[in-house]
């Protein structure tokens, strides 16, 4: 690491351009971060934040542009070059080897000094990891295997990796997505401590309030271009949002529908096993009424996925029961659930929600190909399928409006339109929507929210499972908070604050 001089910024990117087939992810981006600051990189999903940080960590090579560290031009041909130059990154999807211990993950790929030796000395590494953890308040057992850790702990391991390598520049990509508000607070404290030592933190986010809370300065990216850099203390969430989206945001029409009294989906004392055979859902009970949006809030990995899968029949349940309009539902059979009128917007859009290499038309009839309209005995009615697809593509404004496009070529927002179009076309009574707007841009989020509200207004019972508190507070009629597989409290979104819900999400509501 060369000596830092106070005149040149820690990181300077000039005219960075990166093209992928069909998209220009970064288009002449300029960016500067000073020594000892938390610099936020703000932008919508798809604005090019992740691509830019992958360039800064040597994963991608820019087509054009220059990178300077502490005033010196550098060229990264691989992540190793970036690491050696002192740049580390905590990816949104952690880059950890699940079968390895914490210490093994930390030392992986290290090749400096002592680490150049051929032999591996696990004890010394474990000691060092424990020391670092103590110093920065990032406690994890060095000998624990990654798969045994919670997502929050895994994130600590990622930060420890950077500290172990003495990185001067640390990039964090959407780090709070897996944290409760309180855990996020603790992370911010760690980041501040690191900044005070003169390190530079680049904090990628699309959440305005947390950018304001943690950053010194903010650079806004929009559609692959850098729009400008502003001081965090001098800007408001509104001004940041305007920069990010390029227009003033509507206040979000919150004309909520009137829930009716009839209970549609009733869940009693539901217990479900997770993938490893542990209890993932523990005695959950709730009722969703017609025309109502019930939100389940919680930090990722607290049984939400298992809950959604159980209700939609994709996962059998161990104990308890569910009923729809008073009729008992059997678990573990998606086809029965579909026939009973349960629609499902799954968390994993590309891969579960649609078959990625099949056409839009095939994906539109993914659940209805069995119906009398779409098939005659064992034979498919090709023409009816095409007509249905074209009609829905038109009605939901899917782009490109071509029924034969493979689904994987659609953007996230258009993909979600295909999913919604299909799910609503079956005229369901209940919709289970799991993180329906994750990874979408603002326009697409608004469209999805609009569809959900309309559906509720038509009398559909909607169970919204989300980690996004803002989304929950704008959409939900009632909020149930899930923690470690159990509902730990129910709040009224009108009176509740983010902090209250956050405390419940961290298990604080438990006596």
């Amino acid at each position: 690491m060369q000596q830092a001089t106070s005149t040149s910024p820690a990181v300077r990117l000039r005219g960075i351009t990166k093209r992928f087939p069909g998209v220009t992810a970064n288009d002449g981006v300029d960016f500067e971060a000073a020594e000892g600051e938390v610099h936020a990189l703000l932008g919508e999903n798809g604005a090019g934040k992740t691509t830019l940080s992958n360039i800064l960590t040597g994963l991608y090579r820019p087509d054009e542009g220059e990178i300077e560290l502490y005033g010196k031009p550098v060229q990264f041909n691989s992540p190793r070059d970036a690491l050696d130059a002192g740049v580390s990154m905590v990816h949104q999807h952690f880059r950890l080897v699940r079968a390895f211990t914490v210490a093994e993950n930390v030392v992986l790929g290290d090749h400096r000094g002592e680490a150049r030796r051929f032999r591996l000395r696990p004890r010394a590494i474990e000691r060092r990891v424990a020391e670092l953890g103590k110093e920065y308040g990032l406690r994890v057992a060095p000998r624990a295997k990654i798969w045994q850790l919670s997502l929050g702990e895994q994130q600590r391991v990622e930060i420890l990796k950077a500290l172990y390598r003495d990185s001067r520049v640390l990039i964090l990509d959407e780090p709070t997505a897996v944290l409760t508000p309180q855990e996020a607070e603790r992370l911010f404290r760690t980041l501040r401590a690191m900044v005070e030592e003169g390190r530079t933190i680049i904090f990628i986010s699309h959440k305005l309030h947390e950018v304001k809370a943690v950053a010194d300065r903010v650079t806004v990216l929009r559609a692959g271009r850098s729009i400008g850099t502003v001081s965090a203390s001098e800007s408001t969430p509104q001004s940041l949002a305007a920069l990010m989206v390029g227009r003033e945001l509507g206040t979000g029409a919150t004309a909520k529908s009137e829930p009716r009294d009839e209970a549609v989906l009733e869940v009693q004392d539901l217990w479900t096993h997770g993938d490893r055979g542990e209890d993932a859902v523990k005695g959950v009970a709730f009722t969703v009424r017609a025309g109502e949006i019930l939100a389940v809030a919680g930090v990722a990995g607290n049984g939400q996925r298992e809950l959604a899968e159980t209700i939609t029949g994709m996962r059998p349940f161990a104990r308890g029961g569910m009923s729809l309009n008073g009729r008992e539902l059997r678990g573990g059979d998606p086809r029965r659930a579909i026939r009973a009128g349960i629609a499902h917007v799954p968390e994993d859009r590309l891969g579960t929600g649609v078959a990625p290499n099949l056409t839009v038309a095939s994906n539109v009839v993914l659940k209805s190909y069995r119906s009398r309209e779409m098939s005659r005995g064992p034979l498919l009615r090709g023409r009816s399928i095409r007509r249905r697809a074209e009609e829905l593509i038109h009605r939901y404004e899917v782009r490109p409006p071509i029924a034969t496009t493979p689904a994987r070529q659609l953007s996230g927002g258009n993909l979600q339109k295909v999913v919604l179009a299909r799910e609503f076309s079956g005229d369901p009574k209940v919709l289970v929507a799991a993180s329906p707007t994750r990874g979408l841009d603002v326009a697409a989020i608004e469209a999805v929210h609009g569809h959900l509200r309309d559906a509720a207004a038509r009398g559909m019972a909607i169970l919204l499972i989300s980690e996004d508190l803002e989304e929950i507070l704008t959409l939900a009629d009632r909020v149930a908070v899930i923690y470690e597989g159990a509902i730990v409290g129910e709040v009224d979104p009108k009176g509740a604050t983010v902090n209250e819900i956050g405390l419940l999400m961290a298990g604080g509501g438990r006596s």
Binding site: L96, L108, G109
Partner: protein, 319 residues
């Protein structure tokens, strides 16, 4: 006592298990880096024929010729593996199809046969061969004598290899890196490990081991060359890696186990007991299927399972 059936079967189990052990160690290295290579049989056959060619072609002191033969066999095996590595690592081809293609290309009706025929090697006894040793003069010891001390040199070499591969994977930095590449290439890549280089290196090393395994047949067990000499040992080696939960020390146990199955019917026949040899010959395959079912269900899955990214090509810039 050393003539008792148990000792004879155990001793020949070690002998017949050795080519399996070499080939399985090689496949283990490749699979630990995430590359499934179904071309083991082909690589073994090419190793066998090239090793045999050296002992027929060159005239020098036996140890020198045999040493050269082993080197050439290893080289031949690794050249075959290089084709596979290029296809699956660089060109990201389907690993199953590529491995099968390698077996067809190099196997009993392919290159190995072509070379054997063209170099005029068929049906002639080897000029030099690895003969059973009498290590420390202890071959006559009861029971362990013939099993442990009366084997050809390659057996002892294989023991050293098991030790080296085991230590390499568990105790060294490159070993840690290769395990990371097999488990999660994305994580390894982000930490500056060159995924492609590791996969190439270990696939090629795997080919070298397979080549030596083939040479065990043509230079030690049946010192001659005929088409399809290894008669399916390569497939058993692939099975063995699974059977051994991807661990070198268990490969050793499994190899001798499977070797004994292969040897048992002939030993019995020599003593006038006739049991259909197919019964024993099929045991390795059936055992592997049973183990595979156990591995894919229940508690063993997480702790003993295959490298998580086995058979999955890795590419960074996909959008």
């Amino acid at each position: 006592m050393n003539n008792s059936i148990v000792v004879v079967v155990a001793a020949s189990g070690v002998l017949y298990g050795t080519p399996l052990l070499f080939a399985a160690l090689g496949e283990l290295l490749a699979e630990r880096s995430g590359v499934l290579n179904l071309g083991v049989e082909g690589m073994m056959l090419v190793g066998a024929v090239m090793g045999f060619w050296v002992v027929q072609r060159f005239h020098a002191a036996t140890p020198a010729v045999l040493g050269a033969a082993i080197l050439v066999a290893a080289l031949a095996g690794s050249v075959m593996a290089l084709i596979h590595a290029f296809l699956v690592v660089t060109l990201r081809a389907n690993q199953i199809v590529s491995g099968l293609a390698l077996t067809i290309f190099a196997g009993a009706a392919g290159l190995s046969s072509y070379l054997g025929n063209d170099l005029n090697l068929a049906d002639k006894p080897a000029r030099h061969a690895f003969n059973p040793l009498n290590l420390f003069g202890l071959e006559k010891l009861p029971v362990i004598g013939p099993i442990v001390f009366g084997q050809p040199l390659l057996v002892y070499v294989s023991w050293a290899c098991v030790l080296l591969v085991g230590l390499y994977l568990a105790r060294t930095r490159p070993g840690l890196n290769v395990r990371a590449v097999g488990e999660s290439p994305a994580a390894a890549d982000a930490m500056g490990i060159n995924v492609a280089r590791y996969r190439y290196a270990h696939t090629i090393a795997g080919g070298a081991f397979a080549g030596v395994g083939g040479a065990c047949f043509s230079l030690s067990i049946t010192p001659q060359w005929v088409d399809g000499l290894t008669s399916g040992a390569g497939w058993i080696a692939i099975a063995l890696v699974i059977f051994a939960f991807w661990r070198p020390e268990l490969c050793l146990v499994g190899a001798y186990f499977f070797g004994a199955f292969a040897a048992l019917p002939y030993t019995l026949q020599a003593r006038g007991v006739t049991i259909a040899p197919e019964l024993f010959q099929s045991l390795p395959y059936v055992a592997t299927i049973v183990v595979l079912v156990l591995v894919s269900t229940g508690w063993t899955k997480r702790r003993l399972g295959a490298p998580a990214s086995l058979g999955v090509p890795y590419a960074r810039e996909e959008l």
